[in-house]
Amino acid sequence: MPVARYIFLQLKEVPQARVLIRRLLHEITTGQHWDGGKPQSTLNIAFTHQGLRALELPDATLLSFPVEFQQGMKKRAAILGDTGLNSPEHWDEVWQAESVHVWLGVHALSAEALETRCSAIAALLGETGGATIIGAQDAASAIVNGKQTTGEHFGYTDGFGNPDYLGFARSSQPGQGKLMPDGSWAQLATGELLLGYADEAGELPVAPVPHILAANGTFMVYRKLHQNLATFRAFLDENAALYGGGKEKLAAKFIGRWRDGTPLELSPDGPDQSIVKDPQRNTNFTYGADDDGTHCPIGAHIRRVHPRDAFGFNGRLIDRRRITRRGLPYGRFAAEDEQVSDTEDRGIIFMALNANISRQFEFVQQQWIDYGNDAHQGNDKDMLLGNHGGQGKYVIQGDRAAANPPFVCANLPNFVELRGGDYFFLPSITALGMIAMDLVDPR
C-alpha cells in the first residue's frame, strides 16, 4: 500500500485503555486472505513493554519478555552503536521520552482512504478515552509517472531483501529463503518470524509466557532513519570523479545493486531490467564465485545483511540472522538535479519483524552494519548505514579492468542518522483479545 501513517499512543487509565483495545480488535487487519481484493486501508497494532505495563499485565508475564524488549531501544543505544549523531539526544522528542505505549500502523491505498481511517481511529480514541495521540509519522512510496515504486531517497530501488518463510501464502522467490547444500533455496522455518513455531535451531523460540500470549506474535523494531541527501549526492559526485567505473557503478558498489535494482553479482557491468522484472532471477544469486569482491564488494550493504553463502557452511551461519523488513520512505522526493539540503525532513521508516530482537535485528545491526569482522572487514562499517562520524573507509574491490578498479572511499560522513524508535511486540489477534479482556495469566 502506497501511503501510511504511524500513530503513537500513550494509554490512559487501565479500564478505558482496555475498552479501547477491545474496540480496536474489530478493526485490526488479520492475516486472513483478502477475498474481496485489497481493502482500502489496513490497521495493525503493537505495544512497547511500557505499553504492556500500562495495561497491567501480570508482573510475571512482563518479566518473561526478553531483556532487550523490557529495556527498550533507547537503553540499548551503546549496543546498537547509536552514539554520536545517532545517540538518543538527537532523537525526536517522542522517542527520547520513551513515552510511546502503542504503535498503530495505518496503511491505505490513497490519501483519502488514509484520512478516513485515521479520523475513525481518532473518533474511537475520543469516545473511549483510552489513549492520547502523542505523535504521528506519515510515510509514502515514491510515485514516479503516477506509479507506485519501491524507490528511496538516495535513488536506490528497495524491497528485494525479504526472507521467505514456511507456511506463508506469499509467493516465494529463489534467494529469499535459506540456501540448501544442493544450491537451491528453501523456505526458512516459521519460528524465525513468528513465536510458537519451530525455528531454524529445531526448537520453539524463546518467548514470553503464557504460550498463548506469544504464539503467532512477533517483535517489531521501529527506527526512523533520516537521510542526508545533500551529503550523499555530494559524496557520490566527488568520488565518482575519481572512480574509473563512473557514477552509477560507484553508487551500485555501495549497496550491491545498481540503482534500478539489478544485482551486481548477476550483472556487474550494467543494469538489466530483464533481471529486475523477473522474480526468479532478481534475488537469485550467491557470492561463492566472487570471493574477492570484484563484482559485489565484500562490504556492500546487501552482502553484509544477507551474506548468503559468503561465510561458507552453505549459509547455515546466517539462517537465524534474517529479518523481515517493512516500512516506507517519508518526506518529499527530490529530482536528481534539484537542489537539496540535509536539513529537509526526509528518510526512511525502518521496521524489522523477527522472533528475537537480540539474536536477529540487534546482532545484524551491531555485528554486520556497525562492525565488519564476520565479513572480514575488521571494524569497517556499512557504507550507507554506518555511524561513521566523518571517519572510516569503504573498500571497493576491483580488478585490472579500467572500469572496475580497486577504490577506497575515505572520511565517510553519516549518510543516515537515527532520529528515534523503539521495540514493539505485535500480538496475534487471540493475544490481543486476551490483553483487552485482562485474561493473561502467567504460568
Binding site: 551503546a78 535451531a201 524463546v206 569482522n373 575488521g378 574491490q397 580497486p406
Partner: protein, 198 residues
C-alpha cells in the same frame, strides 16, 4: 568483565567424565590432531584465536606435598579453554549451527551433556559448567583471528612489493602496485575497539 579483553573472550569450562570414557576422548583428539582435514570446519569458523582441551585424570591433579590434601575423585575432568572473537551467544550459536557433530563427538563423554542441538538447552549446560576468568591478557586486543590472518597477508605482499620497488621503472612499479592492491584488497579492515557486549 574480566572474561573479555578487547575483541577476545576467555571461556573456561569443566565437565566430569567417567574414567573409561576418557580413553575414547583421547583417541578422538589424537585422530583430530593427526588428520588435518577434520579440523577444516574449526579453521573456517575463523573466530577462535586459540583453543585447547585438557584431560585431567582424577589422580593427576598436581599434588605438591607441604600439607596439601590429595584429591580423591571418581571422575576424570575435561577442561576447555577458548579464546574467541564475538559474543558468547554468537559463539555458541555458530557452533551449534555448523559444528554440532564435532561438538557432540568431544562432549558426549561428559556427564549430562544434552547435545549441541537444539541450542537453548545447550547454552544452559555451558552456563552451568563455565567458570569465569580472573585475569586476561592479549598482546593484540584490537585484532580478531580474521584481522591477524589478513595482516600477515598484507605484510607478505608488502615485503615483496618493497623489494621490487627499488629496482623497477615507474611503469613497472605502477603495475606491481596494482597487483599488490588487488592481492590485499579484501584484507584492509581497520582494527580497533570491539562492539559493546550484549
Amino acid at each position: 568483565m574480566s572474561n573479555i579483553n578487547g575483541k577476545v573472550y576467555a571461556m573456561n569450562a569443566i565437565t566430569p567424565m567417567k574414567p573409561w570414557k576418557t580413553w575414547v576422548l583421547r583417541l578422538i583428539f589424537f585422530i583430530l590432531g593427526h588428520v588435518k582435514p577434520l579440523q577444516n570446519d574449526l579453521i573456517n569458523l575463523s573466530f577462535i584465536e586459540f583453543a585447547r582441551w585438557v584431560v585431567v585424570p582424577r589422580n593427576k591433579f598436581p599434588a605438591l606435598g607441604n600439607g596439601q590434601v590429595k584429591e580423591e575423585l571418581k571422575y576424570d575432568y575435561l577442561l576447555f579453554f577458548s579464546n574467541f572473537n564475538g559474543t558468547w551467544n554468537q559463539y555458541i550459536d555458530a557452533f551449534s549451527a555448523v559444528l554440532a557433530k564435532g561438538l557432540n563427538l568431544i562432549w558426549r563423554w561428559s556427564e549430562k551433556f544434552p547435545g549441541s542441538v537444539p541450542v537453548t538447552i545447550f547454552k544452559e549446560y555451558i552456563a552451568r559448567v563455565q567458570f569465569d576468568t580472573d585475569y586476561y591478557y592479549t598482546a593484540y586486543p584490537h585484532a580478531t583471528a580474521n584481522d591477524l590472518k589478513s595482516a600477515h597477508i598484507v605484510q607478505a605482499g608488502f615485503n615483496s612489493l618493497s623489494k621490487r620497488a627499488l629496482n623497477s621503472t615507474p611503469e613497472q612499479f605502477a603495475a606491481d602496485y596494482l597487483s599488490f592492491v588487488i592481492q590485499v584488497q579484501t584484507h584492509l579492515g581497520e582494527t580497533g575497539e570491539a562492539p559493546v557486549v550484549f
